[in-house]
């Protein structure tokens, strides 16, 4: 009989409970699905998702490949980071390039040049082609009010659509992943995390992120009240002028509609202090696409968006 050692932490703290819940969800998926995949863009939420997957199956490798729906409107730092992480963990990365869908006519470029909404078709096509049956996303319920009603295991019909009125009740920590051929399940292990939880956990676990999440100088121009950067997606129009600003990104998405925030937060401590004091939601502050209408996210989710 081993000597009884005094417990150091008998009860898990809030971050510990969120971590254990996410790990439990990932292991359920590994146990019940044939072909899961993690959506991975190199952004903070998907990086956290991958970190949790590494912990869930340690010391074995992560038993899932990664899928990146690439708008082509990327920040170089994020793509560099993505490729380094994939190499570090020895994972398989499937990249679905929106450009390929535009080139062969399956998609048409939008007049405003934004490609975020164009990701849905390549995403669903890739899920079908690769026969993925469980798709991990980094979505959180605190992000947006349509997401607040999303399940952790969210069934999608054979058209990839979310049907909010037909969701399964989700009880205790028992998840129902049954689906028919052609259907798939979106899985959101970070459902119960808030933006601040994500940052505090990143700090506690010392998780590397792309550098654009921290304060740096960049040439930006103002549009619709947001600071946008020049890139392959275009630049300032007539009447918009470039200025050099000290900024950072709170979210990372399609470059044409992801805004930077003015910030001097260079370290995790400073970022956490800034997020805690912020009076704007991360999507409201930085995502032009969610400002389109009151139900913009709900509509995109119904179509099969992340």
């Amino acid at each position: 009989m081993t000597a009884i050692i005094e417990p150091t932490q008998p009860t898990l703290d809030a971050l510990g409970r969120l971590e254990s819940e996410a790990v439990h969800i990932m292991r359920e998926v590994a146990g019940e699905f044939d072909r899961p995949v993690i959506l991975f863009s190199g952004g903070k939420d998907s990086t956290l998702l991958l970190h949790l997957a590494v912990k869930a199956f340690w010391p074995a490798p992560v038993p899932f490949p990664l899928l990146h729906v690439d708008t082509g409107h990327n920040f170089d730092e994020v793509i560099d980071f993505r490729d380094r992480v994939v190499e570090r963990y020895g994972l398989r990365l499937v990249v679905a390039k929106v450009q390929d869908w535009i080139d062969d006519g399956r998609l048409t470029e939008r007049p405003d040049g934004t490609r975020n909404p164009l990701q849905t078709v390549p995403l669903l096509d890739s899920i079908t082609e690769n026969r993925f049956d469980a798709v991990f996303g980094g979505g959180r319920r605190d992000e947006e009010r349509a997401r607040a009603k999303e399940r952790i295991f969210s069934l999608r019909n054979s058209f990839g659509q979310w049907e909010p009125r037909r969701q399964r009740p989700e009880l205790w920590n028992l998840y129902n992943g049954r689906h028919r051929p052609g259907e798939h399940v979106r899985v959101f292990p970070l459902s119960n995390w808030t933006e601040l939880d994500v940052w505090r956990y990143i700090q506690r676990e010392n998780i590397e992120l792309p550098p654009i999440y921290y304060s740096h100088e960049r040439e930006v121009y103002q549009r619709d009240g947001m600071w946008l950067a020049e890139g392959p997606w275009g630049g300032p129009r007539d009447g918009e002028t470039k200025v050099r600003k000290t900024i950072r990104y709170r979210t990372v998405g399609d470059g044409s509609c992801t805004g930077a925030v003015e910030s001097t937060a260079r370290t995790l401590d400073e970022v956490i202090a800034e997020v805690a004091a912020s009076r704007l939601t991360e999507r409201g502050a930085t995502r032009a696409d969610d400002r389109l209408s009151e139900a913009a996210m709900e509509d995109r989710k119904r179509e099969g968006y992340f």
Partner: protein
């Protein structure tokens, strides 16, 4: 003290539940400026003079159009003392389905009543369902107290009646608290109201911040459903064989004697592993990986349990079902039962009683169970499975009933849970 509290709300239509939740979010500054601006714009469009806080929580377009809440929604707010995860459960159609869902993970539930109407039938039913699910603590928010002129007598009558009801459902003294509030005006939600000098208890938020949370059952016998077998077979870990899962009940330490069910093999825990290092001890709620002394055959769905107090192994289950699907239960229906990490085929062999929500009593030998109904059944499983009685928070003894044809979740199951409780509703 735990720094995370999971809670659920329950109430009837028009009790002002969305407004109360909106008020909690607003007064804890969990609503950020851009969200609030959107609510203000929408309120002006609807011709209202003050922001309609219920718009903060009505998520879907069809809900906003109809002015109702359809589905359970999850909200997050935090103070310096605690983080809160709130399951906001709508109270009209599908109320049992939604209440059961919200209650299944809640450590505390807030029930709302309208001070002008007092405790109504639905309040009693909600409380009964919360008691059945084992939610450890209740708060009765006596809302719209401003509309009864902040009358102490009115509040006292309601508080007394509800406390008596909760006591009859098995809630011990000190686990139920009634608070006079006005969600619309903010009385006693975050700050003490000057209009209720006679109320000396905590405000709603004070109470949520300080109420003791019952820890997961550390003292209970150890239960560990195996989710996944970890076998790296890498050069660094050629022989590693770990059993991954989340501790459902109890505590585990290296050296503990365990039994693996349903096979019944006995062995010893050699190591409690995590990526952050080995643990001298791990308690319920924690996801870990166990390494065992003997090379026994274990796979997903097995349960590793304390050898001294193992769960019963049986293929005959007596259980309470809360029916959640539109299609009713059929006689001798074949279903799937998901318990822990194991899914087995099963048949509902007997429907013994049904809780009559109109007469608030139980019926013997009912024909069927339909949406929102709760009944006692016997189930026969295709193979013996390890089961414990249902305990609060559903870490053990909880199961899902699934339709094998289309995968629908048909019912929430509680092993041996006391339906007679509901007779007192």
């Amino acid at each position: 003290m735990s720094d995370l509290l999971r809670l659920a709300t329950a109430g009837s239509v028009d009790d002002g539940k969305s407004t109360l939740v909106g008020r909690l979010l607003y007064d804890t500054k969990s609503v950020l400026a851009d969200t609030l601006e959107a609510v203000q714009r929408a309120s002006v469009d609807k011709g209202l003079s003050t922001p309609d806080l219920s718009l903060l929580v009505d998520g879907l377009r069809s809900e906003r159009e109809q002015g109702i809440t359809i589905d359970v929604a999850y909200r997050y707010f935090a103070t310096d003392k605690r983080t809160f995860v709130l399951a906001d459960t709508p109270g009209h159609v599908q109320y049992t389905r939604n209440t059961v869902t919200g209650a299944s993970t809640a450590e505390l539930a807030i029930l709302l009543v309208d001070a002008r109407k007092g405790v109504i039938e639905q309040t009693r039913r909600h409380a009964a369902v919360l008691a059945l699910l084992g939610v450890p603590r209740l708060v009765l928010a006596v809302n719209k107290i401003d509309l009864v002129d902040y009358d102490e007598g009115t509040f006292e009558v309601i508080a007394k009646e509800f406390t008596a009801h909760a006591t009859s459902l098995g809630y011990p003294m000190g686990t139920v608290l009634a608070i006079p509030v006005s969600a619309l005006r903010g009385d006693n939600v975050v700050a003490h109201s000057p209009h209720t000098p006679w109320y000396t208890g905590p405000t709603l938020l004070d109470h949520l911040e300080t109420v003791p949370v019952e820890p997961d059952p550390h003292e209970a016998p150890f239960r560990f459903p195996v989710q996944y077998v970890i076998r790296p077979r890498t050069p660094e870990h050629p022989d590693y064989r770990g059993y991954a899962g989340q501790i459902a009940a109890g505590t585990v330490r290296p050296g503990d004697e365990v039994v693996v069910l349903p096979a019944g093999l006995r062995t010893t825990v050699e190591r409690v592993d995590t990526p952050d290092g080995e643990l001298p001890e791990a308690v319920a709620g924690r996801s870990v990986t166990l390494l065992l002394a003997d090379d026994v055959d274990i796979s997903r769905g097995d349960v590793i349990a304390a050898a001294t107090e193992p769960p019963a192994l049986t293929d005959e289950l007596s259980a309470t079902l809360a029916w959640l699907a539109d299609k009713p239960l059929r006689h001798n229906q074949k279903v799937l039962v998901k318990s822990g990490s194991r899914t087995v085929r099963a048949m509902v062999t007997e429907l013994r009683t049904r809780f009559d929500e109109q007469r608030l009593s139980t019926h013997e030998d009912p024909e069927t169970l339909t949406l929102n109904e709760i009944g006692q059944v016997s189930l026969r499983t295709a193979e013996p499975i390890p089961v414990d009685g249902y305990t609060s928070r559903g870490r053990t003894g909880a199961f899902l009933v699934i339709d094998p044809a289309d995968g629908t979740t048909l019912a929430a199951g509680l092993v041996g849970a006391p339906l007679p409780l509901l007779d007192k509703a």
